[in-house]
Amino acid sequence: MSSPDTHALLDRRGFLRVAALAGGGLSLAFLIDGSPLLAADEAKPAGAENFRPNGYLTISPDGTVTILSKNPDLGQGIKTTLPLIIAEELCADWKRVVVEQAPLNPALYGWQGAGGSTSVPSNYDNMRRAGAVARTLLVSAAAAEFGVPESECRAESGEVIHDITGRRLGFGALASKAATLPVPDAKTVVLKDRKDFSLLGRRVGGVDNKAVVTGALCYGIDVSLPGILYAAFVRCPAFGGKVKAANLDALRARPGVRKVFIVEGTGRDDELAAGVAIVADSTHLALSAADEAEITWDEDKACKDSWSGFAAKAAALSGEAGKEYQKSGDAKAALASAAKIIEASYTYPFVAHATMEPQNCTAHFSEGGLEIWTTSQNPGSGQDLVAKVLGIAKDKVRVHIIRGGGGFGRRLMNDYMAEAAFIAREAGVPIKLIHSRESDMTHDFYRAGGFHHLRGGIDGKGRLSGWTQHFVTFGQGGKDSRGAGMGAELFPLVVLPDRSVGKTLLPLGVPTGYWRAPGSCATAWVLESFLHELSAAAGRDHVEFLLELLGEPRWLPPANSGALHTGRSAGVIRLAAQKSGWGTPLPAGRGRGIAFHFCHQGYFAIVAEVTVGADRKLSVDRVVAVGDVGPIMNRSGAENQVEGSIVDGLSTLWLQAITFEEGRVQETNFQDYGLLRMAKAPRIETHFIESEYPPTGLGEPALPPLTPAVCNAIFAATGERVRTLPLVKAGFKA
C-alpha cells in the first residue's frame, strides 16, 4: 500500500538517501560509503504492508522518530547507545524516539556485529552524520516555512525554533517538506559541539527496560511461529566424534516425538557437528528424549585431550625458552646484570561462556529458502555459514537479529544457526532448537587455558632489568588456537626494554573461541601479577613502579588503533590510586592491589581491596575502576558495563574452570561451574576520564585488570602469591 513514493533526491557523491513517505513524513537511509544505492523497491521488504524503513530513521507526521539500531544487542546496551548518538545530532526529543532492531542487511548497514568493543568506535561518526543530515533538512524546511534565513533557526528537543519571532514547529510537521529538499553532503554537514550535547554523556535507561521487567522482551529462546516444533541436538561428548549407531526407533516411539535423525555434520565444530537431532511437540519432550538417546559414537578421529595431560606437558617445558616471537633489547644480558632474579610459573584454566540464555535458534525452511531468527553476535557470518551448510545461495537466507541473553564472545560462533537450519530443512516445519545447559556447557568454544614460565630481574636501583617468558599455549602449524594468543602490544610487554618472549604450541582438539577481551582476559593476570612480584621484590611502591615503566607521555607501537598512549595509561593509574586511597594503611588481614591494562582501545586501572580470614575465607570488599575510553556515550550503560566486567572477572578468577578428560568436558552445569552470587559482589566505584580522544567501546577493557588487582591485593593481605586459577582450587572460600 504505502511505499516511498519518490526519491526526493539521490545524492550520488554522498552516502545517503532521503525518501518521502506516502502517508507523509521522512525516511532517511544511510548507505555505506562506496556501496551502490539500493533500488527503490528494495527499501520495502517483500510482503510488508506498512512501510518499514530500511535505513536508520523515520520521522512520521505525528513527530515520532523511529530509529533502527543496526547491531545485535546481547546486553551490552548498543540498542540504546547507537540510536542515542543519532538522536543527539538530530536534536530529537528522546521521549518521542522509538528504537527498533534492524534486520541483517550488510549492504545497507555495513558489518552488523557485536564483538571486539567496536560498535561505538566504528559507528560514532556515521551515526552522528546521519542525525546531523536529518536535522539540517528539518532546519531548512522550517526556515522556508517561516520565511527566514536558516542561520536564524535552531533545532532543540524535537522542534525547530526561530528565536527572534518565537515561532516553532515540531519535527513531525516539518518532515514531509524536509524530505523534498536537497540533501546536504554527509561528509561536510555541521556537527554539534560536544559541549552542546544534551543526551550523550548523560544517564539514559535501556530502551528495552520496560519489556525486560514485564517479561515481554523477545529473546531468541522466546521466538514462536505458527506450527512450530521444538528440537534438541545431541553431539558427541568427545569433540569431533561421529554417530555410529543410535536407538532411533526407541526415540521415535516416545510420545510427542515427530522426527529423529542422524546428522553427519561437516566434520568441523565451528560449522555443523555430527549428532542426533530430535524434533518434538514441546521443548520438554525434545530435551527429555535427548536424555534418553543411546548413541554409539565413532571416536576414531575424536578429541582425546586431557587437561591434566596438558598441565604435565607444560610443566616439563618449564626449563625451555620456546620459539622466540617477541624481542626487545637484550634480555639475557639484562638478567645477567640484575641484582635480583625472580622466577615464577602461572597457570590459568579453560573457561566457558555460560551465557544465561543457552544457545538456541529458530529456523524455517520453505520454497528453497531459509528464514532464521538468531541471537548471533555475528549474524552476517552466520548467514554465510548457513548458506554453505545447506548448499543454497546466501540471498536465500533471511536473517532476523533477535535479542540475546548474553554473548561474551560465545555468539560470535554460529554453530547453533547451522544446526537449526539443517534440522529445519529436514523437519519441513519451523523449528526452535534449544540446547540444555549441559549440552551448552560441554560444547562451547572455550577460552583457552595457558601456562607461563617467567624470569624477571631487578637492578641495584630497584628497576626492572630483563624479562623472559615462555608461553605454553595451544595451536598448530605456528598458528594460535582461536583466542589463545598473547600480543606484543600488551602492557607491560610493549614497554619492556629487554625482553624475550617464546612460545610453544600444544595441538588441541577442544574447540576454543573468543571470550570477553580475548588475548587479554587471562594474560593480563599473568603479566601484571608477575610485574607486582618484581616491584614487591624490589621493595617498591607498585603505582610508582608502573608509572616509571610507562615513562613520558607518548604513543607506543604499533602505529594503529591498537597503540597505547603512556600518558592516558598513567592518567587512569594516578586517578585510581587517588580514588582508592592508595597508600593509606589497612587493618591486618586486608590488602589492596592495583593493576592496569590497555586493550580494545580502552585504558583501565583497577584497585581491589580484599579481606582474607584465617580460614582463607576471601571477601572482595571494594573495587575502584578508572577508565579512559574518551567521551562517554551513556553514563548509566557505561557504568553497567564496568560493573558487569568486574563481577564477571571475579566469578571467573574465583570459581571457574573447564577441565576435560578423554576429550570430554567434565563440568556440566552451574553446580560445578559457579557464578558469583549477589552477597559476594563487591562494592564498585567507577570513574571515567573523559579525554578528547574518539570514544571507544566498553564491552571488554574493564575486565582484564580485575584479576591481577585482586591477586595483588591477596598478596598484600597475606604475602601469598596466587599463581594458579581459579582461587577456589587454591582453597580460597567464598
Binding site: Q76, L217, Y230, P358, N640
Partner: protein, 162 residues
C-alpha cells in the same frame, strides 16, 4: 492424558496434552506462551525460571505441573497491576537501569517480590540470603541490590507490601 486445570495470573487454563510430570516452566512457555519465565539450567541452580506458586517463589524448571493444580501461579507477566501499573520492584528496576542482557531479571524480580511480600522489613543480610539462588551472568548485582532497597523503602512508606 488428564486435563489439568491451572490458574495463572488470575486466568483459568485447561491444559491437555501434557504429562503431569512436565515441569511447570515448559507448560508456561510452550503451551501457554508465557515466555517471560526463562530457562537457564533446569536443575534449580540459577533462578531464571522463578514464579510464584501460592505466593512462594518457586523454581518452575523442577516443579511438576500437576502440583500447581489448585494453586495460584503468578509469572512475571502477571506481576503488574491489572491496569498495567508496574509493581514497585519493576519500576525500581527501570529507574536503576538494572538490566544488561536482562535474561535473569524476570526471575530476580519474582524472587525479590516474594521475599518482600513475606518479609517487608527484611534486613540487607536477609535480602542477600534470599537472593543468593538467583544468578546474573552479566553481573548486575549492585543495581539489583539498589533497586530492591529503594522498592522496599517505597513499599514501607506505602504501609507495607501486602
Amino acid at each position: 492424558m488428564p486435563t489439568l486445570l491451572l490458574q495463572v495470573n488470575g486466568q483459568k487454563h485447561e491444559v491437555t496434552d501434557v504429562a503431569p510430570d512436565t515441569p511447570l516452566l515448559w507448560v508456561l512457555r510452550d503451551t501457554l506462551k508465557l515466555t517471560g519465565t526463562k530457562f537457564g539450567c533446569g536443575i534449580e541452580q540459577c533462578g531464571v525460571c522463578t514464579v510464584h506458586v501460592d505466593g512462594v517463589a518457586t523454581r518452575s524448571c523442577n516443579y511438576p505441573v500437576s502440583q500447581a493444580v489448585g494453586k495460584q501461579v503468578v509469572t512475571i507477566e502477571g506481576l503488574a497491576g491489572k491496569d498495567g501499573t508496574l509493581h514497585p520492584l519493576q519500576q525500581a528496576w527501570i529507574d536503576h537501569d538494572v538490566a544488561q542482557c536482562g535474561y535473569c531479571q524476570p526471575g530476580q524480580i519474582m524472587q525479590a517480590a516474594a521475599l518482600l511480600q513475606r518479609n517487608p522489613q527484611a534486613t540487607e543480610a536477609e535480602l542477600m540470603r534470599g537472593m543468593s539462588g538467583n544468578l546474573c551472568r552479566c553481573g548486575t548485582y549492585k543495581r539489583i541490590r539498589d533497586a530492591i532497597t529503594s522498592a522496599q523503602a517505597q513499599l514501607q512508606s506505602k504501609g507495607g507490601a501486602s
